[in-house]
């Protein structure tokens, strides 16, 4: 059980700044996602929290205690890597027992703990087997077992499902999350997969080029992205960007897209120059009554829904609609935007302009 607080954390490798000035707080018992593209600094951040790298500057507090310059062995955390680092010559029981045996715990106590962990993970029946012949999923469960058995203050996981195929990853993700819900221990999890982050996380930190782009609950980040990077990284397909030039004033309740007036949540700040209207695919409808016209290019069937790609005056627009709605390639139609859900960005800085709708989320971002 632990609360982890990061303040102004920075890491330089020579001339290269891997992480610059990160700050966020992980509450006790949270499943916390460090998300971003490769090279964004998420793994470096995790390694500093674990004590595998020392920060160049800034602080790391675990339960209020500053541990930034302490080695991993003094932080009471457990690390699960992408590649399951098991001892190949030992059987499952001895692999899981290892951390306890090396602490000098009495045999009987070790046995009791390992049996309990095996029960939690559903691997009682393979305890006597050598790890060499196990499936990928069982190997991963054993690696988890070895981390859990120590009852550390926190679990740190670096893309633990990255090497698994899609169907199996989905199942392991559910299992991991269910395990966390039973144990309630603080977990910090690194991934580049936005869906995995949305699906499993209580909170997400999204990083890019060593900088925290946004920090918050998955739905808040999805609905109210702080930057165009966030809007594009989260969601599949990502948020649509309709780029235009002009001026918006504080209080504006419309933007002008060509000949069309599109209602938006009232802005709290203005901008002149490059502007971008951001709309999620499921927040746009095909509506012949709308004067904002577009031509259907392709239709992708997804079962429950379908993704319609259209060519509009301001670029390509992808719309998610129920799969029973008739639509055909080449059709010209109108696009209606759900006014309550739109974000306007400055195309110059890439930052979202504050509005009545997003100010609460961005306020504590």
């Amino acid at each position: 059980m632990a609360q982890i607080r990061i303040e102004n954390l920075r890491k330089d490798f020579g001339d290269f700044t891997a992480v610059q000035s990160s700050s966020f707080t992980i509450e006790d018992g949270e499943f916390f996602m460090l998300l971003g593209p490769s090279g964004c600094g998420k793994t470096t951040t995790l390694r500093m929290m674990a004590g595998l790298e020392l920060p160049t500057s800034g602080q790391i507090f675990i339960d209020g205690e500053e541990v930034g310059q302490r080695p991993a062995s003094q932080r009471d955390i457990a690390f699960v890597f992408q590649m399951f680092a098991l001892y190949p010559h030992m059987n499952v029981r001895r692999n899981i027992s290892y951390p306890l045996v090396s602490q000098g715990m009495p045999r009987r106590e070790v046995k009791r703990k390992v049996d309990e962990v095996a029960r939690i993970l559903g691997i009682e029946n393979i305890l006597g087997k050598p790890v060499g012949g196990l499936s990928g999923g069982d190997r991963q469960r054993v690696a988890l077992g070895r981390a859990i058995v120590r009852e550390p203050k926190a679990f740190f996981m670096d893309e633990p499902l990255g090497a698994l195929d899609a169907e199996f990853r989905e199942r392991m993700a559910e299992e991991l999350r269910a395990l966390h819900d039973r144990m309630g221990s603080t977990t910090v999890y690194v991934t580049h997969d936005q869906l995995e982050a949305m699906q499993m996380g209580d909170k997400i930190v999204l990083m890019n080029h060593g900088v925290v782009e946004q920090f918050g609950r998955p739905q808040e980040i999805y609905d109210w992205p702080a930057t165009m990077f966030v809007a594009n990284f989260i969601g599949s397909p990502p948020m649509n960007f309709l780029r235009f030039e002009g001026t918006v004033a504080p209080g504006a309740e419309h933007v002008r897209l060509g000949e069309s007036e599109v209602p938006i949540p009232a802005l709290r700040e203005g901008h002149a120059g490059k502007l971008v209207l951001g709309a999620r695919p499921e927040h746009i409808r095909l509506d012949d009554a709308s004067d904002y016209r577009a031509e259907v290019q392709t239709v992708e069937y997804l079962g429950t829904t379908q993704i319609v790609s259209l060519k509009a005056r301001h670029g390509e627009v992808k719309v998610r609609i129920p799969s029973h709605e008739p639509v055909r390639e080449g059709q010209v139609t109108g696009l209606a935007f759900n006014p309550l859900t739109l974000t306007v960005f400055s195309g110059d800085s890439g930052n979202a302009l504050r509005s009545v709708a997003n100010e609460e989320v961005l306020g504590h971002g």
């Binding site: 998955p218 739905q219 999805y222 999620r280 992708e300 069937y301 997804l302 079962g303 429950t304």
Partner: protein
């Protein structure tokens, strides 16, 4: 332009039956996706069509002509693999031109350059023609590999998980691109994947393979909305279809052992009570994990649902699928 037909193909490797009496037709201009888990026989099918493997029994026909005894080169098919397999010491231009320099084709240098440029522009790699193949990103390398198949204008394209090593965004882009390329070229594609999104979004026809047998061959919509078995129903749909004992709900027809419920086949707000065990907010939708009469199921609801863990939701089946004890559909 061609039509590919497989007639009663059986292929064994030692004691393993990789393909068991598979018959199917890839119509001219079709985008056929073979779907199934590892070991279902997808790649073997491609290898038999390409001529890399000979079937034990059965025949392959291209445009009505038997090709079973022909070598891969004589069949005029192009294959794209999961691994890019480019020539690392050559430039992108040389890689693309390579198939055209084959003695079988004997194309003039000016013609080759024109063809290479055309394909490079279609795949948006024209600005990289002089780069070494190794200086490209993963997505660019895979585009060159696809380009190398395109320059030849073969009768048939065969692709074995060409997008599986790419990251999610690039995969989404190339999905659309491949579909457009197929539509423009008009040649049939036979495409292997275990990614159901690729199957649903690109295919005109999906062939579902189960341990070497072709169990359903139809449009993605038909397989999703009208599957022949639990196995076929489980290949498409995210979250996956819920399979529960038919006796859990009233109204099961005789002979039904299981009921199959996709999220849109679960009506919320009426019927019997279930308990919410987890709420997953995916942004565009929210997944509800439910516990119902000692069984777990997953459905979807509004992105901004106020429901939380421990709440009660009433659920009732709506036009569900029923399956018998063998997993076959009961109608």
């Amino acid at each position: 332009m061609a039509e590919v037909t497989l007639k009663g193909i059986t292929k064994t490797y030692g004691s393993t039956v990789a393909l068991n009496d598979v018959s199917l037709t890839v119509p001219d201009g079709a985008f056929v996706v073979l779907l199934g888990p590892t070991g279902a026989g997808k790649t073997t099918t491609l290898r038999v069509v390409s001529g890399l493997d000979a079937p034990d029994r059965g025949e392959v026909l291209i445009d009505g002509a038997p090709v079973t005894r022909l070598t891969p080169a004589q069949r005029n098919v192009a294959m794209v693999f999961q691994q890019y397999s480019l020539y690392p010491h050559m430039s992108v231009r040389e890689n693309l031109a390579f198939p055209l320099k084959s003695p079988l084709i004997r194309m003039e240098a000016g013609e080759i350059e024109k063809k290479v440029r055309e394909v490079a522009e279609m795949l948006q790699i024209a600005h990289k023609l002089d780069n070494k193949a190794t200086a490209l990103s993963g997505g660019e390398m895979q585009r060159v590999a696809i380009g190398r198949a395109l320059v030849r204008e073969p009768a048939v394209y065969l692709m074995d998980e060409p997008l599986s090593s790419l990251d999610a965004k690039l995969r989404a882009d190339l999905r659309v691109e491949l579909k457009n390329i197929q539509a423009r070229s008009g040649a049939p594609f036979l495409y292997v994947t275990h990614d159901q999104i690729e199957a649903m979004t690109m295919a005109s026809h999906v062939g579902v393979l189960d341990e070497g047998r072709l169990v359903q061959f139809a449009s993605p919509r038909e397989i999703y909305e009208n599957p022949v078995s639990i196995y076929a129903a489980s290949r498409l749909g995210l979250p996956r279809i819920n399979i529960l004992p038919a006796s859990l709900f009233p109204g099961a027809p005789s002979g039904a052992r299981s009921i199959g419920l996709r999220p849109e086949q679960i009506r919320q707000g009426e019927g019997a009570e279930s308990t919410v065990t987890r709420v997953e907010r995916l942004g565009d939708q929210t997944r509800l994990h439910l516990h119902f009469r000692k069984h777990d199921l997953i459905t979807v609801t509004d992105a901004h649902t106020p429901l939380k863990t421990g709440d009660t939701v009433k659920i009732a089946p709506e036009n569900p699928f029923y399956f018998d004890a063998q997993g076959a559909r009961v109608r």
